[in-house]
């Protein structure tokens, strides 16, 4: 926790929205390299991120803050050309998104904090399932969403 870096609640949620945009985009890349149950899981994950995005858009539109727009595209951290790369990216995108929701916890309370915790938990669960699919052990991390 860095007390000097203390965004407003709206900024914390805007950051979570930006992370959700990126996750939705990334799953488009991830899905094409997967087949069968893994591809189905990628589609479900993408749908879950779209739901979070839509809820955030509504929530932020009700406030007075700026609602960030989606970008046309995102730079991948590395080329994703096969199943292994797609699964690795899926784990990373979930941990990254978890991190933004985790950061939002300190800037929210009540229903909004519970929503942020539910989103953090969902991301952590998907990261765990992707690690299992990829054969990565252990499948869990001690502090989901915490910067390494």
């Amino acid at each position: 926790m860095n007390p000097t870096k203390s965004p407003s609640p709206a900024q914390a949620l805007a950051d979570a929205l930006a992370a959700e945009y990126a996750a939705i985009w990334a799953y488009g890349v991830i899905g094409v390299h997967l087949t069968g149950a893994a591809r189905t899981a990628a589609r479900a994950a993408e749908a879950a991120h779209r739901s979070r995005r839509d809820a955030l858009l509504l929530q932020l539109a009700e406030g007075s803050g700026q609602v960030p727009a989606d970008r046309a595209g995102y730079a991948l951290p590395y080329p994703v050309t096969d199943r292994a790369g797609a699964l690795r990216l899926a784990v990373e995108i979930e941990e990254r998104t978890a991190g933004h929701w985790r950061a939002a916890l300190a800037h929210t309370s009540g229903v909004e904090r519970n929503t942020a915790l539910a989103a953090l938990t969902d991301c952590a669960l998907r990261a765990t399932r992707w690690r299992r699919t990829a054969g990565v052990t252990p499948v869990t991390v001690p502090f989901p969403g915490r910067p390494a």
């Binding site: 950061a103 916890l105 915790l117 669960l125």
Partner: protein
């Protein structure tokens, strides 16, 4: 003169003998104790069912790390008499071990989520990570 009263000798138990109010226990003490108890359960289960040790030991380590972080945030040593969790002495079948651990983990997740909801801002992120981690433990035990 009214001042005379103030100059009266301090009697008996007034200033120094007053019972020291023990500080109220930190709201996170139950969660810290639960983390240690969960760690002990996983260690005992890994000993009882060595085939599961590869899955159980990282989770035990996570609970230990949670307990340490909670202790750091609480900022005081554990209250004396914190019981070392009683692990079950018997060696049940692996399936039963996993079922029991899942139940304990699910309870722990609920407790951590509640603590997160009620926590001041500076504690919310840690408690959120602990709640999420416990949820992933349930998943890892499936």
């Amino acid at each position: 003169m009214a001042l005379g009263g103030a100059a009266a000798p301090l009697t008996g138990c007034d200033l120094f003998d007053r019972d020291q109010e023990p500080p109220a226990p930190d709201a996170l003490e139950p969660l810290a104790a639960e983390a240690l108890a969960l760690e002990a359960r996983y260690r005992a289960a890994a000993t009882a069912a060595p085939a599961l040790a590869g899955r159980l030991t990282p989770i035990a380590d996570a609970h230990k790390a949670h307990a340490e972080e909670l202790r750091r945030v609480i900022g005081r040593p554990a209250p004396s008499g914190t019981p070392a969790a009683a692990g079950s002495a018997s060696a049940p079948a692996p399936d039963a071990v996993l079922t029991e651990l899942r139940q304990a983990e699910q309870e722990g997740r609920t407790n951590a989520a509640k603590a997160c909801a009620e926590a001041p801002a500076e504690r919310a992120a840690l408690l959120g990570s602990i709640a999420a981690a416990r949820a992933t433990h349930v998943e890892a035990l499936k």
